[in-house]
């Protein structure tokens, strides 16, 4: 006996098996990101007043990424519709777009990560703090060169939204004056820890979704010739996963970039 309802929906539930499976899986993913979001809410609400960063992200890049993902969600849906109306050429085109958009998203994300990881907060022996991007950090030299500014207290670095006209210049700091040096990685504070963890997990999901869609677009397209409806269902199911990943970003973007 073959497994029924792989392609045709079961009459009383109205869905085929994989659709039940993917929605159940997405429910678990809601709880996964829900757990991380509740960590965010708790840590932010529980933080001492004035210690939670604002404006530490590049809003332009974030907005571009948001629109890139939204567009990819649309192309994903259209790729499925194309399968439904048996226009395979359109399917190939739209999912090629989806894959390109996914790649764009990941590249922008990588750039943002690099941007953060090359940004340093340097505490000096005289009590001041130098903050900016590392230009030169040659171990053989006795100085580091950053493109940034001096501030008096660490609290000056917290709310960048409230500060107008931040002037940055090249600053050369002798190593002898450096008390402590830390890059803006997840170890730097809880906001960045949450940022890297949330967006990192999200990016892994983008990668996974991209691989699945890439497989269907590439080697997996063989199934179209023999069982087009089965193939269409696979496109729909992977599309649902992709839309979910977009949904997570819809909440990540405002929470991490805009607030």
């Amino acid at each position: 006996m073959d497994i029924p309802y792989v392609v045709q929906p079961r009459p009383d539930t109205g869905i085929y098996n994989a659709k039940a499976g993917i929605w159940l899986f997405l429910a678990s993913e809601v709880m996964l990101f829900g757990g991380l979001f509740s960590a965010y809410v708790l840590l932010r609400v529980g933080a001492d007043p004035g210690t939670w960063p604002h404006g530490w992200q590049n809003v332009t890049l974030g907005t571009i990424n948001t629109l890139v993902l939204a567009l990819s969600a649309v192309t994903t849906l259209l790729a499925w519709v194309a399968c439904k109306v048996r226009q395979f050429g359109k399917f190939k085109f739209f999912h090629a777009c989806t894959l390109l958009l996914a790649l764009t998203f990941l590249c922008i994300k990588l750039f943002e990560y690099h941007d953060h990881l090359t940004h340093y907060e340097i505490q000096l022996t005289d009590g001041r703090i130098a903050d900016g991007h590392m230009m030169e950090n040659n171990p053989n030299e006795d100085y580091v060169l950053i493109d940034g500014r001096y501030v008096e207290r660490e609290t000056d670095l917290i709310d960048l939204r409230a500060q107008k006209d931040i002037r940055e210049a090249e600053i050369k700091i002798p190593r002898a004056q450096i008390k402590d040096m830390e890059s803006y990685g997840p170890w730097h504070n809880d906001y960045l820890a949450l940022y890297f963890t949330l967006t990192g997990l999200h990016a892994l999901h983008i990668l996974a979704g991209g691989i699945v869609i890439g497989y269907l677009w590439g080697p997996g397209r063989k199934l179209w010739k023999t069982e087009p409806e089965h193939f269409t269902n696979r496109v729909e199911v992977s599309g649902l996963f992709w839309h979910f990943v977009d949904l997570v970003w819809i909440f990540l973007f405002p929470v991490l970039y805009l607030t």
Binding site: N17, A20, G21, L32, G35, A47, T51, W187, H188, D190
Partner: protein
């Protein structure tokens, strides 16, 4: 007794030729057939054997711990030199050092729960039996099923390997509380987290499979209220795994980041380790870990018990030859347990400084969730009334489950009340409580299931005499091991003490109030002997199991004369289970229905034409 043992009908082939399905499957060979199989029955067996091995390993860890508790600081007999050889410094001189004791404790809990009981109760029994019980050819997603088993094995390997890395295995309890879990100088904690992520992945894949299968692949006529109670129990268990595990996965990811990337999700500002200020950013919250952990932790205990209740229900119905009493109540109760279990978790956190309002909320929901559990247990008890009880080995274990789970459940009530929990939290009372529910509770049900379903898997039954030896030995010694722990706990003995409480004993600090008296400390020896005897009692079971697979008495396809669908297939069920989708005509417990020739009517037996009511009583089989 002979009557009971020999009541099995002679070996009979089923009337219908099972035939081959349309796509002729040629022999897949050893690797595809037994190692990389996508057949739910093979996967069920794989899960079962792997889980039983882990249960045994966890048992050995417990024996080592009980030795240390009863004889603190003394070398372990026989195994001491071997341990020193393999584990090095932590077992120097064959003595279990406190750090090693802690790692045994953490891993005993982790292995028993996540590598032993859950895979056996949910994945092994569920995988084998559920598709057969609902008339499905396999699980909805066979390849996902195989992937879930492989993730489980990988997770198990990571956990076991962690014993052998420098620094040893995780030592912060199976609950892995931060900041301790981040401060312990071993990578074992990171291994633990990675192992957990793999196990969680395995459970999630399994849960998706079970729910989709039960929703989509029920045979024609198998309505929701005609499903055996075991299937309902697995259905709710799958939902618990699906929705409760991911927050722990999120928390585990964050704790891994704390361990490896030096973040401070759970590390508070001003944290000092070893007397020095830790070089971390701070700002984190240890309580956040606890909330996220117990959000899973509580539903997890229902994952441990619900499949067991399902198994016991099936065996009781079958061996009383009457329908389960209160089927509908049990279904609604199991759904209520599933729902409520998500909102009780902070009763594990009463001592974390929560305020009265939130404690009152969790106390209320905790009391509420005990009600459906009591309903289910009561229905099972009432099901015995007026039954023609057959006291075979599965039934003995199923019957013992009832009072044992009763003790375990009732002793949970003082822990659920905030006020009494202030005293009992983190004492041996808690250990006794949860072991009663899982050990003479769930594990007895799992034993019952093995004795019950082995004839379907192999066509042979296990030896009845040795089954009874196994039963009585296990029953007596489970109580010898765990009953004293209630007393120890109420006297104030705390959990997780490597020296067995010697530091707080009256012998060490005479004249101080509320120290542990000699009578309490003496119980350690009783418990150690009880545990060793319990271990010995398992030997007949292990031998019986392996021997019976090859040489057990042959039985027919439905030796227990059961109504449920899994017994209406050939033995063992072929690939695809049923040649055509079975048609279901009735509920799952049509036993001793007046007017029928036999005392059981399988779910898929077509309706017979109505005959005149018989005057003679229906024959009753023992």
């Amino acid at each position: 007794m002979d009557e009971i043992i020999h009541s099995f009908p002679a070996h009979q082939e089923p009337d219908e030729d099972p035939g081959h399905d349309e796509h002729a499957h040629h022999d897949p060979g050893f690797w595809r057939g037994y190692v990389f199989s996508t057949d739910h029955k093979i996967i069920g067996i794989q899960y079962g054997f792997t889980a039983l091995c882990f249960l045994l390993f966890g048992f050995f860890l417990m024996l080592l711990m009980r030795w240390q508790i009863a004889h603190p600081g003394q070398p372990v007999p026989f195994l001491g030199p071997l341990m020193a050889e393999i584990l090095g410094q932590p077992a120097a001189g064959g003595v279990i050092s406190p750090d090693l004791y802690n790692s045994f404790g953490a891993m005993h809990g982790t292995i028993m729960i996540f590598l032993g009981v859950v895979p056996l109760a949910f994945a092994a029994f569920g995988n084998y039996v559920v598709p057969l019980m609902i008339g499905a050819p396999d699980m909805a997603f066979p390849r996902v099923n195989m992937a879930s088993y492989q993730a489980y094995v990988l997770g198990g390997i990571v956990m076991v390997v962690s014993f052998f890395i420098p620094g040893g295995a995780a030592q912060a309890g199976w609950t892995s509380y931060s900041p301790l879990a981040t401060s312990i100088p071993t990578h074992g904690q990171a291994f633990w987290i990675i192992g957990m992520v793999l196990l969680i992945t395995s459970s999630l894949l399994g849960a998706v499979n079970f729910i989709a299968t039960i929703i989509q692949l029920r045979a024609p006529g198998m309505t929701w209220m005609r499903m055996p109670f075991f299937v309902w129990a697995q259905f709710v268990t799958a939902f618990l795994l699906l929705l409760a595990f991911p927050p722990l996965e999120a928390a585990a990811l964050m704790q891994l980041m704390d361990n490896v990337a030096h973040t401070s999700f759970f590390l508070p500002t001003g944290l000092a380790i070893g007397g020095k200020l830790a070089h971390v950013s701070g700002g984190g919250s240890p309580l956040l870990w606890q909330h996220l952990f117990w959000f899973l932790g509580h539903p997890e205990v229902y994952v441990l018990i619900l499949p067991a209740m399902g198994i016991v229900a099936e065996i009781i119905a079958n061996n009383t030859r009457k329908p389960l009493w209160g089927y509908k109540s049990k279904v609604y109760s199991v759904l209520a347990i599933g729902f409520l279990s998500f909102i009780v978790w902070a009763h594990h956190m009463y001592l974390t400084g929560m305020g009265t309002k939130i404690s009152a909320f969790f106390q209320t929901t905790t009391m509420a969730v005990s009600i459906p559990s009591v309903i289910i247990l009561t229905c099972l008890f009432i099901s015995l009334w007026g039954g023609s009880i057959r006291f075979n080995t599965p039934m003995l274990f199923a019957l013992a489950f009832l009072p044992m789970f009763g003790i375990g459940g009732l002793t949970g009530l003082p822990l659920g009340f905030n006020a009494s929990d202030v005293y009992l939290h983190d004492t041996y009372y808690v250990i006794a409580h949860f072991h009663y529910v899982v050990a003479p509770g769930t594990i007895f049900a799992l034993f019952a299931g093995i004795y019950y379903w082995l004839p379907k898997i192999t066509g042979r039954r296990m030896n009845e005499f040795w089954g009874r030896v196994h039963f009585w030995g296990s029953f007596v010694f489970m109580n010898v091991v765990f009953m004293p722990m209630f007393v120890q706990g109420m006297k104030g003995m705390l959990r997780r003490m490597a020296d067995g409480g010697a530091n707080y004993s009256a012998a060490r600090v005479p004249g101080v109030i509320d120290t542990l008296p000699g009578s309490i400390m003496a119980m350690h020896t009783w418990i150690l002997w009880g545990a060793m005897a319990l271990g010995l009692a398992q030997i007949p079971f292990i031998i019986n199991l392996f021997w019976s697979i090859k040489h057990g008495e042959r039985v027919g396809t439905n030796p227990w004369r059961s109504t449920t669908l899994e017994w209406q297939t050939p033995t063992p069920p072929p690939h695809g289970n049923f040649a055509r989708p079975p048609q279901i005509y009735r509920g799952p417990y049509e036993y001793s229905v007046p007017g029928h020739d036999t005392d059981f009517t399988p779910q898929n037996e077509p309706e017979a034409p109505v005959t005149a009511p018989r005057i003679s009583p229906v024959p009753v089989l023992h």
